[in-house]
Symmetry: C2
Subunit: 369 residues, 2 copies
């Protein structure tokens, strides 16, 4: 194998793939990246057996072939190469790889590509097509609500529900739930389908989606999902099991309805949370006809009381929330104003954008008495 | 005590002082910041008993007084305040402090200022005056060579030597030594003086010096040093003991003299160090009449060999250095070209800017045979 590349091209391909390589993997071949030189393209592949990324780059191929190189050191060195012509040559007998740039060169001991796992091939006959920008936003608004506790795998992923003319993304850690709906007429997909996608997969996808006007194409295999971007494919296993019925969790109706500025509530909650952190980590919210008061206190340090102007309908009420759960959602809502819907201090609250009905966040209160 | 402030003014004063507050301090009053409202000024003071910072701000003082407030939480909240008028009022009986902004307020339990240590007052009759920009550069070029090992306190500081018409700053961790000299005619200081300043002090000073055309004034007390900037004073203890005789460490003359581009050597060494890190952490340098070769290898991963064009006088030679020690100095030399002076593979090497004789870096070789 012999290729001639620019620094940026090689560096880009390795950088896209490198992050999925697990440093803890016991199989040496999996701590490597597969480079495969074919007809005018170099394919760079990495996988940790749960998520795999494959990046195809146009390349000047002098001699076809393949090699597996250690991911971390390859990435580190290639990122620091000077911006000159780079020639990579692999000894087809022992896989020793030489990378030449200017008067200098480095050599890496490579491995045969034979032992590198083959990413499953997936049927692209039925494909869901979404604008990257939209899907990025959906992931951003939902994935933070997933759990990081691997003991309950279902909650570490997000449910994707493809309906006749909608695509929904839902995540919950059982304390709060985020649900994003996108209208999708003619999404190109013929079936209704429900899958649970690992949080790690969606985070990696978000990282490699550039968003600018391009589509992401989504297809499914046996317990697998693949996301196809121009030049890059991300394949992931799905999480098996039954996602909780989120429709039951979303309260219908409310007794108190408030409208206020997203940024004002975010900043007030952030300040209040600084004191909350020292104590039991909750902020107390009191709604009167005049305003909303957000307060927290720490007996040893002091207390804080923030007042915000609101538009309000219904009953005056009080409720307490984990301040982190409140801050998380206020950071991902894009509209200037939000609606907060409450039904007493023991029922879940709802937060959603003041305009559009495409996002809803349910948050369980903390009992403080 | 009662003051009216802008957010930026209060936030600036607290932020300048806050970093010296040690979170591990067993005395509660030392985890606080002293605020003292006097005639038209607020003085903010923090100290860990080794370093103290005092920042004086013009302020609308409604009522004089003083209070000690918990440093971290005060800093965190004030930084997040909205950009409105801020009113701080202290109850002179129990030191409870209320900070009002818009419709909101927070309360902190304060402490009496009586237990707060008084920073030593220092005689400003003999003062050394240096441009901040120059002194910042001197610190940057020297302090990284100090040791972080508290068991040998002398090496954790930098020697400042004030001569008739020079000021020198020297630091060494016994593996390498950095020496910066500044010509200082009429520096305003009448005595010759040698002191060892803690590395932490110089790092804090570097952080608060803005550099833009202003001076820093330096004065000395009994085992104390004070740096005065407009509006801010930094007082520090000195390190007691005998600094090694750096003049003996700097080799006189050399057998091989090389001139090359600073940036080229830095980038080549950074690449080589990536492989060196996996092994014994050194890079090997080979000088021939044609060029310099920098190489390193890791038996399990591979090897790297960089070639750089040089101008060379004297003998061909080989030497090995800890790659970190080489990278550190190449990052702080501002000139386009450097001189490297060597005398065989067992004697210390010298690195210095190709122009100007105000900086010299001595680095011990690693025996590799």
């Amino acid at each position: 194998m012999k290729i001639i590349s620019t620094k940026d091209s090689l560096s880009y391909g390795i950088q896209v793939c490198q992050r999925v390589v697990s440093s803890k993997n016991p199989l040496p071949v999996l701590s490597g990246i597969l480079l495969k030189a074919g007809d005018g393209t170099l394919t760079v592949t990495a996988t940790d057996l749960e998520v795999g990324i494959e990046c195809t780059l146009p390349m000047d191929i002098q001699e076809k072939g393949a090699v597996v190189l250690p991911a971390r050191i390859l990435g580190d060195i290639v990122r620091k190469l000077p911006d000159v012509k780079i020639v990579m040559e692999v000894n087809s007998q022992n896989f020793n790889t030489t990378i030449k740039y200017g008067q200098s060169e480095f050599n890496l001991l490579g491995l045969s590509s034979e032992d590198f796992p083959i990413l499953p091939s997936i049927d692209f006959s039925s494909v869901l097509t979404i604008k990257q920008e939209l899907f990025k936003n959906m992931i951003k608004q939902v994935i933070f609500a997933a759990s990081s506790d691997d003991n309950r795998p279902i909650f570490t992923g997000a449910l994707m529900e493809i309906g006749e003319d909608t695509v929904k993304l839902v995540a919950t850690d059982t304390h709060r739930l985020a649900l994003r709906t996108a209208k999708m007429e003619n999404n190109g997909f013929e079936l209704e389908k429900s899958v649970i996608i690992p949080g790690k997969t969606l985070n990696e996808l978000n990282r490699i989606m550039t968003g600018e006007g391009e589509d992401v194409k989504i297809a499914f295999g046996e317990n697998q999902i693949v996301f196809e971007l121009p030049g890059t494919k991300l394949i992931s296993r799905l999480i098996e099991g039954q996602f909780p019925n989120y429709k039951q969790v979303v309260p219908q109706g409310c007794k108190t309805k408030i409208k206020l500025k997203t940024k004002e509530l975010l900043e007030a909650t952030e300040r209040a949370s600084l004191l909350a952190k020292e104590g039991s980590n909750f902020v107390k919210i009191t709604i009167t006809e005049e305003n909303m008061t957000i307060s927290s206190n720490s007996p040893e340090i002091g207390k804080i009381e923030e007042q915000l102007p609101i538009e309000m309908e219904g009953e005056e009420t009080q409720i307490a929330f984990n301040s982190k759960y409140l801050i998380d959602v206020l950071k991902v809502i894009d509209t200037e104003e939000i609606l907060v819907e409450l039904t007493g201090s023991l029922s879940p609250g709802i937060i959603k954008p003041a305009e559009g009905q495409n996002y809803i966040y349910v948050i369980l209160p903390i009992r403080i008495v």
